[in-house]
């Protein structure tokens, strides 16, 4: 019983950390898909890029961990802005097929670049000493890194939610998600709004990719391999919503960890089945608005 | 004789917003009936409920006395309900004659056939060509729709609906977006429509409504304000208020 309880806590804890990372990576996808109606399958590229930027900064240039994470966020956000202006923005009015093909093309290109620069092996992650130990509370040990992940993610999410609910930018985003034509007609500069929101979403993905580098290994096939999970978070949670993907990400994080721990022979079987069931029941996702 | 189309206490609300309440409406066989009303009166919602694109919250819809409230779009078409769209809804990259032929083939029940070439079903092609001929589109039959001027595309809308041989035809603003120079052509076509089809026309253009319709129903805020002959409607002070009020607002 004691064993079971301790593994229960451990699974919940690891699952929570994984779910938080999934959410930080995917939330940008939810917003950009809801806001711009753009099927961006290449979202994982930004997460991978964030991971590579952080690891390069640390491993090759000896930059400290916090600075490296910040660099990843800023570098990817700026790069995605350029990409949005040059390429994405041309396809906002295009059909779904064009968007799917275009973003798959981007994935292929980024996978190739990652292989060319970093090779096929996962990059080693050297965490600073203060994150490698165990924290002792409530009579148990918890890995410090994951505690940090959870706390940091919560603060990021808090900031994001505050931004969307309380700031002028957030009000514009919400208006544009709900009534795009109206937002334009009342003089909201939607093209600038799109660019900024896209950059923020990509930056968050980079942040998630960098922070979670130890949980989701940074390697060239990253955008392909984890695409399904990012998409599940958004599709199950509901497009354009902030809360929906949060619930979905935590559910996936905990379920996936639990399955791997207790019934490894089922693998990701359970998650895919539940995804299919949810989408049949509510095609617009748990928290999405009915069309 | 039962009406061609009838609604009984038809209601629709989206959450707290009621867009149709207690609409009782009768369309007699062979009627020329117009549905008018200011923007946001619920005309489009009403049409979408009739065709089965959105389900009503409560109430019944009947075609020829048969309750079709629970049926899907395709089943309603089979029972004789045809429609045109306010904004052209056509197969843009397909030949004009194929646009009509698709509808004829569905009506004839041959669209499931998988083996013989479509072209070998001469009846479908001949009927579609004949229909286009009566609308003056024979010369354009083999062009793609995308290559036609907008006014002619409006006629293709009507041609597709006629290809279904409907007993009830809903015309959703047939002259919308057509330059006034070409709109007389649409009027000619409307006047020449077979007399046995019951027609409900939804229209903003009052000249067209008063020329075409024998009866007029006025819809405001999701309910029937008044119904009557064109003369009665023209003289009705409520209607004047609604329309004048709208213009002064």
């Amino acid at each position: 019983m004691q064993d079971f309880l301790s593994s229960l806590v451990s699974v919940a804890f690891h699952g929570l950390a994984y779910g938080m990372i999934l959410y930080v990576i995917s939330v940008g996808l939810s917003v950009t898909m809801g806001l711009m109606g753009f099927v961006n399958l290449a979202h994982g590229v930004f997460a991978m890029a964030g991971g590579y930027v952080m690891l390069s900064a640390m491993n090759s240039y000896g930059v400290s961990f916090p600075i490296a994470v910040a660099t990843a966020f800023i570098a990817v956000a700026v790069a995605s802005m350029v990409l949005e202006r040059l390429l994405y923005s041309r396809l906002y009015t295009a059909g779904e097929l064009d968007q799917v093909l275009f973003t798959i093309g981007l994935i292929f290109m980024s996978v190739a670049i990652a292989r060319l620069v970093y090779g096929t092996l996962p990059q080693p992650v050297r965490l600073p000493d203060y994150l490698t130990g165990q924290l002792h509370f409530l009579g148990r040990d918890f890995p410090a890194y994951r505690v940090f992940l959870i706390l940091f993610s919560i603060s990021i999410i808090g900031l994001l939610w505050f931004g969307v609910e309380r700031t002028r930018w957030g009000a514009m985003v919400r208006a544009a998600v709900d009534y795009r034509a109206m937002a334009q007609s009342v003089g909201i500069n939607t093209s600038r709004l799109f660019t900024l929101t896209f950059a923020l979403g990509s930056g968050l993905a980079a942040l998630g990719g960098a922070l979670g580098a130890e949980i989701i290994a940074i390697q060239p096939t990253y955008p392909f391999e984890h695409l399904v999970f990012f998409l599940i978070v958004v599709a199950v949670g509901g497009l354009g919503s902030l809360r929906g993907p949060f619930v979905a990400a935590l559910l996936i994080g905990v379920t996936d960890t639990a399955c791997k721990y207790w019934v490894p022979e089922f693998g990701a079987f359970f998650i895919f089945s539940v995804t299919i069931a949810v989408l049949l029941w509510r095609p617009e996702g748990l928290f999405g608005r009915a069309a | 004789m039962s009406p061609a189309l009838e609604t009984q206490s038809l209601c629709k609300s989206f959450g707290a917003l009621t867009v149709a309440s207690e609409i009782n409406f009768r369309l007699e066989p062979g009627a020329r009936h117009a549905l008018i009303g200011p923007n946001g009166a619920g005309k489009t919602t009403f049409v979408n409920m009739l065709t089965g694109r959105i389900p009503p919250t409560s109430g019944r819809i009947l075609i020829g006395g048969e309750d079709i409230t629970a049926l899907g779009q395709a089943a309603r078409v089979k029972r004789g309900l045809g429609r045109t769209f306010q904004i052209n809804t056509l197969f843009q990259n397909v030949a004009v004659v194929d646009n009509v032929a698709f509808a004829v083939a569905e009506r004839e029940g041959i669209a499931w056939r998988m083996f013989r070439p479509a072209r070998s079903y001469r009846g479908v092609l001949d009927e579609s060509m004949a229909l286009l001929d009566t609308l003056g589109l024979a010369a354009d039959a083999r062009l793609t729709v995308a290559g036609l001027p907008y006014g002619k595309q409006r006629l293709v809308e009507i041609a597709i609906a006629l290809g279904l041989k409907p007993s009830v035809l809903l015309l959703d603003e047939p002259a919308a977006g057509v330059p006034s120079l070409e709109s007389h052509r649409i009027l000619e076509v409307l006047d020449a429509l077979p007399k046995d089809i019951a027609i409900l026309i939804i229209e903003h253009d009052m000249d067209l409504v008063f020329r075409f319709a024998q009866r007029i129903t006025v819809l405001t805020q999701g309910t029937v304000l008044v119904e009557g002959t064109p003369a009665e409607i023209a003289a009705d002070h409520q209607v004047r208020e609604v329309y004048l009020g709208e213009r002064h607002a």
Binding site: E96, L97, V100, L101, F102, G105, F108, V111, A112, R115, L116, F224, V228, L231, I232, V234, A235, L239, G267, A268, F269, F272, T275, I276, L279, L280, G285 | T51, R53, Q73, A74, V77, K78, F85, L90, Q92, V94, A95, D98, A101, F102, A103, A105, E106, I110, A111, W112, M114, F115, R116, P117, A118, R119, Y121, V124, L125, S128, R142, I160, L164
Partner: protein
């Protein structure tokens, strides 16, 4: 060159449509060492044809077509390993298994559209992958399924080391598939699929049972994909997990887009160009190869929607205009 079907389109086979078959026969005699690659290209053409049916003609965007290819491949492999190595029965088993899965999943997937539909195709493929990965006693799991033998075709033609029999076998099966798909495209059913792709709303208003029709088209497409999968199993005498992977779905999509979709022969040109180029480039310069595919997709979307055949069409049209 454009095969759009419909009630005025001429369904007769044009002279140029014999060209691919002439080339395929020529390859048999001219390039005997490339026959295994040739067999693979022919197999992938069948797979691409199946995708063209549902994507190019039906307008359904799927990222999970490998589910049906893989199901056909494993069905044929398991049958050969456990019951019989008779190839034609194996083809039938692969086709039926994939068709059945297509019917069941089609009923689910086609209720939705947009992101949900895309997601469902992905989830179903991933689910199939997990099943194959974990059911090791049946599928061999990550090690793959091999060690079975395929009997001679009709008891007459043995599969040889050079791959001659396999090549001719693939060619004959492809020919049959091409003939069927072509009939389907030019039939009233094919015309109605084009209608659904061009304008779903109008098709509903024309009284078409859109959902049921798409489910049937999806089932046929899945069955064809399964046939291709079974063919791969029999000609390589091995099934690996790759046949169910998302990457295969992605590559297939790339091949079809490269050739041009919704025009039958795009499914011929795409796999040929893609796989031959891959054979030359992928081993020596894998990074550049992937980059090239990605860049090509982006360019096709931005500038050349019709793929290779679309470009050829445009060139021919321009030549005609300058002549007249």
């Amino acid at each position: 060159m454009n095969h759009t079907g419909g009630y005025v389109a001429d369904p007769r086979i044009r002279a140029i449509e014999w060209l691919p078959w002439a080339i395929a026969l020529l390859c048999y005699f001219v390039a005997p060492t490339y026959l295994p690659l040739g067999s693979y290209v022919l197999t992938m053409i069948i797979f691409a044809l199946s995708l063209d049916l549902i994507l190019g003609y039906g307008g359904i965007i799927t990222l999970g077509h490998s589910a049906y290819f893989g199901t056909g491949a494993y069905a044929a492999g398991i049958l050969a390993a456990r019951l019989t190595g008779e190839p034609l029965i194996g083809l039938l088993a692969g086709t039926l298994a994939a068709g059945l899965l297509g019917l069941i999943t089609g009923l689910i997937i086609l209720r939705t559209r947009g992101l949900a539909l895309l997601m469902l195709t992905l989830a179903i493929t991933s689910l199939c992958f997990e099943v194959a990965n974990k059911a090791t006693s049946w599928t061999g799991g990550a090690d793959g399924l091999g060690g079975f033998t395929i009997q001679p075709i009709l008891g007459l033609f043995k599969f040889d080391f050079l791959g001659k029999t396999a090549y001719v076998y693939c060619l004959v099966v492809l020919f049959a598939c091409w003939w069927l798909v072509r009939r389907l495209v030019y039939s009233p059913f094919g015309a109605s699929l084009t209608g659904v792709r061009e304008n779903n709303v109008r098709m509903h208003a024309a009284g078409a049972p859109v959902y049921r029709r798409l489910v049937i088209a999806y089932t046929i497409s899945a069955a064809l994909a399964g046939l291709a999968g079974a063919l791969l199993t029999q000609t390589t005498q091995f099934v690996g997990l790759k046949v169910l992977g998302f990457e295969l779905s992605g590559e297939l999509m790339v091949m079809l887009i490269l050739g041009g979709f919704g025009r039958i022969y795009g499914a011929f040109v795409g796999p040929l160009v893609f796989l031959v180029a891959q054979d030359y480039l992928a081993k020596q310069f894998p990074e550049y190869w992937y980059f090239g595919i990605g860049a090509m997709l982006v360019l096709v979307v931005m500038f050349a929607r019709g793929g290779i055949l679309g470009i050829i069409d445009a060139i021919i049209a321009r030549l005609r205009r300058t002549q007249s």
